[in-house]
């Protein structure tokens, strides 16, 4: 992909983000932060590439460390979001 295609995706995604986030109800802003935290750990993709590649042991070690850090975030972020969301209940009628 060339730079312009990537930039286009990025700019469009910023607009999508703007509208989607404004539609989030304020009552769920804390779960929103927890889940954005979890999904921003998609940088684990980069960490996996580094950890799997041969050629530089330094790069591999950094990659493995980043995989571990991002995993804390991914598992912790989704789990804590699920835990919070499970508490939101409607009035019993």
């Amino acid at each position: 992909m060339d730079f312009i295609s990537i930039l286009s995706i990025f700019v469009m995604a910023c607009f999508v983000g703007y509208y989607v986030v404004w539609s989030v109800t304020p009552a769920l802003h804390t779960p929103l932060m927890a889940v954005t935290n979890a999904i921003s750990s998609v940088i684990i993709v980069g960490a996996l590439i580094a950890a799997a590649a041969s050629g530089s042991s330094g790069s591999k070690l950094l990659g493995l460390a980043a995989v571990a850090l991002a995993s804390v975030n991914i598992f912790g972020g989704f789990a804590v979001t699920a835990r919070m969301l499970a508490m939101y209940k409607k009035k019993e009628r």
Binding site: I6, I9, A13, C14, V16, G17, V20, V21, S23, T25, P26, A27, L28, H29, T30, P31, L32, M33, A34, V35, T36, N37, A38, I39, S41, V42, I43, I44, V45, G46, A47, L48, I49, A50, A51, A52, A53, G55, S56, S59, K60, G63, A65, A66, V67, A68, L69, N73, F75, G76, G77, F78, A79, V80, A82, M84, A86, Y88, K89, K91
Partner: protein, 484 residues
């Protein structure tokens, strides 16, 4: 371009993963769809990780695991162990964390994203061939150098800033602003230096430049957050949320990865919007929050207060009036959470509802320590979410309310925000509690003032009943009186 083109199915998988993340946030538009949203998020992450492992892990050119060597298997094992270790830590933390401690947890998680971005940036620098960013001349492509440098810089700022925010929120470091002389000048100088070395790195790909970018970015993250006081931490946490997104986006540019770019843009906008909402709720400009120092001179104004008459009520008086009411609006603030009064408060609400009283909860955007924090605390205490209302949705109802029941909040009900131009909280949107027939104000004593350090006219109104006690104790006593 020496960028190795990825197979089409891989690009498609990353795109689907990005779409899943959009759906994850979209689900949060209502508590009813939120759980499904979270599952979309997990699915998206699963797709991204699985795709990467399939193409990157021990796959010699030509297909999936045709003839894995011992080395390949070892690498795969290392990766799986790293995921298992990190995952276990994350799951245990998520299970154990108290809901009141959610802001520090989120700050800690932000710091991890930041640090991971720095590590990935460095890994890409050390092994550019693996990332497909090696130019034909044997050097890293110039464009990738800029993206990499930016990713490392933003990641490092996110990391050190979040660590400070974590320490302040967790009370391991004083929440008071730490003001260095000439701090704006120092910060500006550091920013210029980072920009300079970024150019240097673009120009020469020198290890010294990228080391300096990393070190200076760690330093500026630290310096940016230490002057910001505890009251402004909700803005800071949101802002760092945004930064962690931009760091992921910068890495996505380096890797040409759609999932990362979409996520980065989503998270970046999310944090930016939350910062904006928080600033508006405090009527503070983003610049003044970032400049720091708020709350430094707060303690002084409490001394100069004049003595004015006020009325003290007992738990029995309060219970009697509450029982006779038709409409009661409860305004919880962070003090309620500190006193751990949310469960007994919900019990009081249940008793009143049984007595035919219409009970609603009113939440100010800055009621907790982070956006939406108070909603989570009430949800944890089993308060149904359809009894909980935001400021603009309920503010018109105070005129019909028999009782405004204020517990652990102060600045958010202070009418000075509407009338007194000299007040530090002037312009902040507040609840119109003075329109309610009776105001009950739970407060530990008459001595303390709110976060902003200003006196509150609500204490001295004719219809106000001051309930002076620990919040939990007072509500327990009211519950006892109601049960009689």
């Amino acid at each position: 371009m020496a960028h190795v083109a990825l197979p089409a199915w891989v690009m498609l998988a990353y795109l689907i993963s990005g779409v899943c993340f959009i759906l994850a946030l979209r689900g949060l538009s209502s508590p009813a769809t939120a759980r499904k949203g979270n599952r979309f998020g997990i699915l998206g992450m699963g797709i991204a990780v699985a795709t990467t492992l399939l193409i990157e892990a021990p796959v010699p050119p030509g297909g999936f695991l045709p003839q894995p060597t011992i080395d390949d298997l070892q690498t795969l094992a290392q990766i799986l162990i790293a995921i298992a270790l990190g995952g276990a830590v994350g799951l245990i933390t998520a299970r154990r964390i108290q809901m009141t401690d959610m802001p520090q947890l989120v700050a800690a998680f932000h710091s991890l994203v930041g640090l991971a971005a720095v590590l990935v940036g460095w890994a890409a620098y050390l092994n550019p061939a693996a990332f497909g960013i090696l130019g034909l001349d044997g050097a890293i492509e110039p464009q990738s150098r800029v993206e990499m440098g930016l990713g490392i810089a933003i990641g490092a700022i996110t990391f050190s800033g979040s660590v400070i925010a974590f320490l302040k929120l967790a009370g391991k470091m004083s929440g008071a602003p730490i003001l260095l002389p000439k701090r704006h000048f120092i910060n500006l100088l550091l920013l210029l230096a980072i920009a300079f070395f970024l150019y240097g790195f673009f120009d020469s790909q020198s290890p010294i430049d990228i080391s300096l970018i990393t070190a200076l970015s760690f330093a500026i993250g630290f310096l940016l957050i230490i002057p910001i006081g505890g009251a402004d931490m909700p803005v800071v946490v949101s802002m760092l949320n945004s930064y962690s997104g931009w760091a992921a986006a910068a890495m996505g540019f380096t890797l040409h990865n759609t999932a990362m770019i979409i996520t980065g843009a989503l998270v970046g906008s999310s944090g930016a919007i939350l910062s904006y909402i928080m600033c508006k709720a405090m009527n503070r400009s983003f610049i003044s929050v970032i400049a720091g120092g708020f709350g430094a001179e707060a303690a002084v104004s409490g001394e100069a207060r004049e003595q004015r008459p006020w009325k003290r009520g007992s738990a029995e008086d309060a219970a009697f009036i509450l029982e006779q009411s038709e409409n009661v609006i409860i305004i919880p603030g962070y003090g309620m959470a500190v006193a751990q009064a949310q469960h007994v408060l919900r019990e009081m609400g249940d008793l009143l509802k049984k007595a035919g009283v219409n009970v609603k909860y009113a939440i100010h955007p800055v009621a907790g320590r982070m956006p939406g924090h108070m909603n989570v605390l009430l949800a944890e205490a089993n308060v149904p979410y359809d009894e909980v209302f935001e400021l603009e949705d309920i503010n018109g109802e105070f005129a019909q309310a028999d009782v405004a029941f204020i517990i652990g909040a102060n600045d958010v009900v202070n009418p000075a925000a509407k009338t007194d131009k000299t007040s530090p909280i002037y312009g902040m949107p507040v609840f119109d509690v003075e329109k309610a027939k009776t105001v009950m104000f739970i407060k530990r004593s008459m001595a303390g003032v709110g976060y902003a350090g200003v006196d509150n006219d609500v204490f001295y109104m004719d219809q106000t009943m001051m309930l002076l006690a620990d919040a939990k104790k007072m509500v327990e006593d009211i519950v006892k009186a109601l049960q009689r």
